[in-house]
């Protein structure tokens, strides 16, 4: 019950903090999807194989990522800047509120609630809500742009999507599969990364935790496997789109394990942590 009261207080208070980030995310997501739309129009004008972007295309454009190109390959790797920007904004959204709450008013709330674990679990749930809100914004942006473009509202992606996203490689399947399970995988991965960031923010403070997590996520462009789990948020690395890609079920499972580990380890750390003021933490 106390945990739900903590969560209620968090939701009420964080709305003001999150509103500007949500707006930035919406503009960014719509912008990325609008660029895809323009590319589709250009491809159609050039007589290339393309249709108006589907809902699936628009979502995949947000989480396109990069091909599985190892650094020692001779292939030229282009940095997926839009993907990094999407990752950064989603990770940034839940970054500072929990820690600033702990260093300020939250200290009194924890003492009133008389439980560190309940405060911690409430913050994890708040991060889940926050990540869920960002997922909704991504889905809404994809829906909006595909609707405006006259594309099909389907989870299927068009055959030339890799080309439209600048992902030219031989690895893509002849016919890519609907992205339903990838949506779950990507959002689960983002949730697990946000929870890991939350736990790290207690140890390192928020900004270093953000830099560390976004750094690891960005390195996923070049390196594969644990701990470079950023590839679980890349459509270009999923088995739905490429040969020998990440199976969505495995991706969801890996994300769930990382999320659970972050919650448990973060909670154990927080249950023993000295809650000092900012000066002493520094």
């Amino acid at each position: 019950m106390t945990m739900l009261r903590f969560l209620r207080a968090d939701v009420r208070e964080s709305a003001r903090v999150l509103a500007p980030v949500a707006l930035i995310a919406f503009v960014l997501f719509v912008g990325i999807d609008a660029v895809l739309w323009l590319k589709c129009v250009r491809f159609i004008q050039m007589g290339k194989d393309a249709t108006a972007p589907t809902f699936g295309d628009c979502f995949a454009a947000l989480y396109g990522g990069a091909l599985n190109s190892a650094l020692n390959d001779n292939e030229r790797i282009s940095l997926p800047m839009s993907w990094v920007a999407v990752m950064a904004v989603v990770l940034y959204a839940p970054l500072s509120y929990p820690y600033s709450n702990l260093m300020g008013f939250g200290k009194q709330l924890i003492a009133q609630g008389n439980s560190r674990w309940q405060w911690w679990v409430a913050k994890c749930l708040w991060v889940a809500l926050c990540t869920g809100a960002m997922a909704l914004i991504a889905l809404l942006s994809a829906f909006l742009v595909s609707s405006l473009a006259g594309g099909e509202l389907t989870l299927r992606t068009q055959g030339n999507l890799p080309g439209l996203l600048g992902l030219n490689g031989r690895a893509f399947l002849e016919e890519t599969a609907p992205i339903g399970s990838f949506v779950v995988q990507a959002e689960m991965c983002l949730l697990s990364l946000c929870l890991a960031q939350l736990a790290l923010s207690l140890v390192l403070r928020p900004l270093p935790a953000f830099v560390l997590v976004i750094g690891m996520v960005s390195l996923s462009i070049f390196y594969f496997g644990f701990p470079f789990v950023g590839e679980l948020c890349m459509w270009a690395r999923t088995s739905l789109a490429v040969n020998a890609g990440v199976n969505p079920l495995a991706g969801i499972g890996t994300s769930a394990v990382l999320a659970a580990t972050s919650v448990v380890l973060g909670g154990l750390y927080f249950s023993k942590m000295d809650i000092l003021d900012k000066e002493l933490v520094a």
């Binding site: 207080a9 208070e13 008013f105 003492a111 009133q112 560190r116 249950s271 000295d274 000092l276």
Partner: protein, 221 residues
């Protein structure tokens, strides 16, 4: 309710911030902590509040060990490290949010306590527009709004004018009268002596003597 602190020590990053502190606080007693900056007063308050755990020693509250039997004292009000509030909300909204965790204080009690510290409960201004003194008054109100058994007041008279200091003395006297244990620190020795039953002197993390007074609830309050 009683607090028994036994051989409490705290080491942070290689520095002994508290060294072998022992003291007892009985129900209805007001204890003052005096000493220069960095002498360990606030650190001891943080320990009593359950915000930090001791490196050695223990704090016993009503027979239970803090950190083992409960994470925080079962009933505590805090003003520590300066008042911290949600700056975009009014004073009443802040206290309402605080009171929503345990749902002990009623809306009427919230408004009463705000009035008691000299603020206007109908003031809709966000706390960021409050002066330092007003924030301090709200901090005192937040510490006592739920009538806790233990009240921790770290420098409650900071930024207060003469009327504010008088109010702080009155609030402390009221807490004593209803049987709460109050632990407070104050840099103004005279003001501290007027508020407390007992003063513990701190220097470089250790206790450097203590003095028994007994004047709270009297004419000075």
């Amino acid at each position: 309710m009683s607090i028994k602190i036994e051989s409490l020590s705290k080491r942070i990053r290689g520095v002994d911030v508290l060294k072998d502190i022992s003291l007892n606080i009985a129900s209805g007693q007001v204890v003052g902590l005096a000493g220069p900056n960095g002498s360990g007063k606030t650190m001891l308050m943080r320990c009593i509040a359950g915000l930090i755990s001791p490196t050695s020693g223990q704090i016993e509250i009503n027979g239970g060990i803090l950190g083992r039997d409960f994470a925080f004292p079962p009933s505590i009000g805090l003003l520590i490290e300066g008042p911290a509030f949600l700056s975009g909300r009014s004073g009443v909204e802040n206290l309402r949010l605080l009171a929503s965790i345990r749902e002990i204080a009623s809306e009427e009690e919230i408004r009463d306590v705000i009035e008691a510290v000299g603020l206007d409960p109908s003031d809709k201004r966000p706390v960021r527009k409050y002066s330092l003194g007003m924030k301090q008054r709200l901090g005192i109100a937040a510490a006592v709004v739920e009538r806790p058994d233990i009240v921790i007041l770290d420098e409650p008279t900071n930024a207060l004018d003469a009327a504010g200091i008088k109010m702080a003395k009155r609030v402390v006297a009221e807490q004593k009268k209803r049987g709460a244990e109050v632990v407070l620190s104050c840099h103004d020795a005279q003001v501290l002596h007027e508020m407390v039953d007992e003063v513990y002197y701190f220097a470089e993390g250790h206790m450097d003597g203590h003095e028994t007074l007994n004047n709270v609830g009297g004419p000075n309050a």
